[in-house]
């Protein structure tokens, strides 16, 4: 049987990480194909419910990435997002959800190489963790 290929969903901001991922491509850098990128206006827009929906729809891992602190296109979206992630991550951990499955990162538009590296290491980590079996059981109880 072939090796487990994880499904990774990346929630990225339009202004930094999406442009950074674009740079990865235009620089012809190869990286793991398991990632599906979803572009958002800002990390401040990335509601925690969206991450839960990704898991509910079969993601094994999640990447959340945006502009470095002080580089936000809207000045403070990433600072607000950071507070939310700090609390959300703590809550998920408390509920027994493996937070190693959610990777948070700051990647600027100039960091194409960092994006490639982030996706590769995340894919590798998730591959080691295996399919998200706990959530898989819930999932079959009723996702449209």
């Amino acid at each position: 049987m072939s090796e487990f290929q994880p499904k990774i969903v990346a929630f990225v901001c339009n202004w930094c990480t999406y442009a950074g991922a674009d740079l990865t491509g235009t620089s012809r850098m190869k990286y793991s194909p398991q990632v599906s990128i979803i572009r958002f206006p800002c990390t401040g827009r990335i509601d925690f419910m969206l991450l839960l929906k990704a898991f509910a729809n079969g993601a094994d891992g999640i990447i959340v990435s945006g502009c470095h602190p002080n580089d936000c296109h809207y000045t403070s979206g990433n600072f607000h997002a950071r507070r939310r992630w700090i609390l959300f991550r703590g809550l998920l951990d408390f509920m027994g959800i493996d937070t190693r499955r959610i990777e948070f990162s700051w990647i600027s538009a100039a960091e194409g190489a960092k994006w490639a590296q982030l996706v590769n290491t995340t894919a590798e980590n998730i591959r080691k963790l295996g399919p998200f079996a706990n959530y898989e059981k819930l999932r079959h109880q009723g996702v449209s």
Binding site: P69, F94, M95
Partner: protein
Amino acid sequence: MEALKNKAREWLDSRMVQLVIGYSQGSGDSVRAVFVHDPGQVETLLFDSRCRQNLAVYLLKPEVKKMGKAALVANLTTLRAVLQLAAENQIGEHDVLTLTVNPAGELLVLSTLEAIETYVAISAPDLSVEEKAELEKYEKLGMEERWQFWQEQFSRCLKCYACRAACPLCYCSRCTVECNQPQWIPVPAHDLGNLEWNVMRAMHLAGRCVNCGDCSRACPVNIPLYLLNQKLISDVFRNFNARSGMAAKAENTLSTFKPNDKEDFIR
């Protein structure tokens, strides 16, 4: 509690308030909320250690607002809920008068938000020693054990939303649960929807919950929702040094930030 009854009568007589929201004897040994309009009804009012319900939950209900200005018989967490509602611009300085009984058994009239602020300063910094110990007990479990524990708890959830109805800070007239385009929270009470609902309820109260515990008491299947709230209260205090319901002009934890908020997980 003669002083309480006298004060309520005085306020109703003088038309300073049109309504007193307080506690009265319920069935058996329980107490229940009572809405007193008529000075003749103040005899039903009482206040003792059984009066734990957070009556601030009624303040924002349209049907209660219609009754006119209210006086609230409040315990400590109710007062904190009033301050938090003020911090969120849900009630103003002149919308409510509060009456409370201090640990020495004396009636206190807290007629301004400032007076409430001074009084609630007696509450514990974030959680009490017992609460911290219980929280730690669960935090120390292995990840799989924590998952099993919460799955077992949530498997009983009926999606009745009694936790939401009992909460003085769940006041949105249109909750995310009712949003169905897209359907954020699945309607049937299956394990996935139950998990999502409970994560969402806890997160939407992050940095706002005043730890009154009414969600857990309202829960017909005894899910320990207070643990989730207390986890977030403890994290908010530890990470942002913030406490909800302590000041009428406080900033909301999740709608503000500090450039130097500490985390160690963002690469």
